[in-house]
């Protein structure tokens, strides 16, 4: 049974078009809330925090293009540290780490075409987080563990041997048909 699960989730890694899309419907994975300082750094960047109304509409729009900003559209349900600020990129794990075998999924609207996309949030695993990396704390459509595939409070390195949480990527899998 565990082997079955591994095989299934490995499909996400290989990201062949067909299998990924289907797998993405079923499962998710996600990182965690980081340590104090970083949490707040991320919180400050989160798009519409009711506690920071200084971020007006203009400021919000202005940051849409920066993929290292937590308000970047692909990060709409990402609770973790951006791999793009950890030595990797938006879709690649930093050197020396490994991609999580399982992932959680978000549904994010791309402002460029106003379509919803399914985003696979994979964790990269096997070492400590980079302290200066950007911590994001967004949870659009996030659900507790009873909807595991949408849950982002859990370490999605869970199915890897090396389970240390390092960072999270936002990989767009396909268009979501609302």
């Amino acid at each position: 049974m565990p082997r079955m699960i591994d095989r299934l989730f490995n499909l996400i890694d290989k990201t062949s078009e067909q299998s990924t899309r289907k797998a993405a419907q079923s499962f998710g994975r996600r990182s965690f809330l980081a340590k104090a300082g970083t949490v707040m750094a991320g919180a400050m960047l989160a798009p519409v925090l009711p506690f920071d109304r200084s971020l007006g509409g203009a400021a919000f729009a202005g940051t849409l293009e920066d993929e290292n900003d937590c308000s970047y559209w692909k990060h709409c349900a990402l609770d973790g540290n951006l791999c793009s600020t950890s030595g990797g990129s938006l879709t690649s794990c930093p050197p020396g780490t490994e991609a999580s075998k399982v992932a959680w999924v978000g549904t994010c609207r791309n402002p460029a075409d106003d379509k919803d996309y399914l985003v696979s949030y994979n964790d990269c695993c096997g070492r400590a987080t980079v302290p200066s990396s950007t911590f994001c704390f967004t949870s659009e459509g996030e659900r507790p563990g009873y909807r595991m595939g949408l849950h982002n409070d859990i370490n999605w390195c869970m199915a890897n041997t090396n389970k240390g949480y390092h960072c999270t990527v936002s990989v767009v899998l396909g268009v979501a048909n609302g």
């Binding site: 965690f32 919180a43 519409v48 399982v102 400590a128 659009e140 659900r143 370490n155 869970m158």
Partner: protein, 381 residues
């Protein structure tokens, strides 16, 4: 012996300028180790780390002075037994902390001496989750520990605390969170289809197939936080949108008692948000909830602007108090409740609850840096 001593003195190369003199009246101080923590009711604060020791800080409920701490592995969870004399941690030890094979361990500590009593190695599928009251639990009779697993397929590991060994892994497909019953060896879990399921210890000493409720909530439209609080023979859950679900777990199958909104008709789109978003005081049968305004899709983890006191029976809001950005609450039982709040920056607040003044919160003490990521507490007795 003497020669060894002098050799060592030379080794260490210590040459204090000046020598010790026998001062007639001076009595040297004596180094000791405290045997027990300071008396009085305790507050337990979990400081969770994902790349080092997680710890439980033990503080005085009266003035938040620190009595000591316990440290364990990464992504730690904690729970106390029924009289708060034992604290249990679930945490993970990888060979190289963040890599290598992982050992997941349940550790039992004596609270009064802050000493480690024993360890039980459990299957490493134990869920590595942000601080939560749903992951590690103790049965009503202090006999069994329940541990939530996720691979991501879900199950519960049952540890027999009498024998100190793993009794069983109970599959709980599609469900998450462990909530033990008040008067039998049973746990209830929350499922992705909106139903609750209970697993009871059968006559054969095993947990068999679940007893399921009808659909209790809509996980799409009104998802509940997995923050179940015990209120007599009920479990209380609050939803993302401010509905209180009262679930009875005293029969074989769980059953919805009532479902009432405490946000309906309120201006400002208020909603619960944070981590351990609900605390329950038994004497007044009142819930305290961390609330933020202008809620939106995804704001359910946002910290509070206010704490609301909500009447269990009517779901009426009895009082609202402005607070700093709190994400988690715990509260004492009794007529004069004391509420403890944590934010995400490691600040701990103590409030006296003015039960006779609309449950207004009066801040009495704070501790900064109670932890790097301390967002979960237990108010003991």
């Amino acid at each position: 012996m003497l020669s060894t001593r002098f050799a060592l003195a030379a080794l260490a190369g210590v040459l204090i300028s000046g020598t010790v003199q026998a001062a007639d009246k001076f009595v040297p101080e004596v180094l000791t180790v405290e045997e027990r923590i300071q008396p009085g009711p305790n507050l337990f604060v979990l400081d969770q780390s994902w790349d080092g020791s997680s710890q439980t800080v033990v503080l005085s409920q009266d003035d938040l002075s620190v009595k000591g701490n316990l440290s364990f592995g990464i992504v730690g969870q904690m729970v106390a037994n029924s009289d708060f004399s034992r604290l249990y941690s679930l945490s993970h030890y990888a060979k190289r902390i963040t890599y290598g094979p992982t050992e997941s361990v349940l550790q039992e500590f004596d609270v009064s001496t802050l000493s480690l009593l024993r360890e039980v190695v459990v299957p490493e599928k134990a869920a590595q989750v942000a601080p939560s009251n749903a992951i590690l639990k103790i049965s009503h009779d202090d006999r069994y520990a329940f541990i939530q697993n996720a691979t991501p397929a879900t199950s519960v590991t049952v540890v027999d605390l009498e024998t100190g060994s793993v009794l069983q892994e109970v599959p709980t497909p599609g469900c998450f969170g462990v909530f033990p019953a008040a008067d039998s060896v049973k746990f209830t879990t929350v499922c992705g289809d909106g139903r609750f399921q209970s697993f009871s210890l059968a006559a054969d000493g095993r947990f068999g197939s679940p007893d399921s409720s009808d659909k209790i909530f809509d996980p799409d439209k009104d998802p509940v936080f997995i923050v179940g609080k015990r209120a007599g023979d009920e479990l209380l859950f609050v939803s993302f949108f401010g509905t209180v679900y009262r679930v009875s777990d005293s029969d074989k199958a769980p059953r919805l008692i009532s479902k009432k909104s405490f946000t309906e008709g309120t201006e400002g789109q208020w909603a619960p948000g944070g981590v351990d978003v609900v605390a329950y005081n038994e004497a007044h049968k009142v819930l305290f909830v961390t609330m933020h305004s202008e809620a939106y899709n995804g704001s359910h983890k946002n910290g509070a602007e206010e704490v609301w006191a909500v009447d269990l029976a009517s779901a009426k809001v009895l009082g609202r108090s402005e607070v700093k950005h709190l994400v988690s609450l715990s509260v004492t039982d009794g007529e004069q409740p004391v509420l403890f709040g944590l934010d995400e920056e490691g600040v701990l607040y103590r409030y006296q609850v003015k039960a006779d003044a609309g449950f207004a919160l009066e801040e009495t003490n704070t501790v900064e840096d109670v932890g790097g990521w301390a967002i979960f507490s237990i108010a003991g007795s």
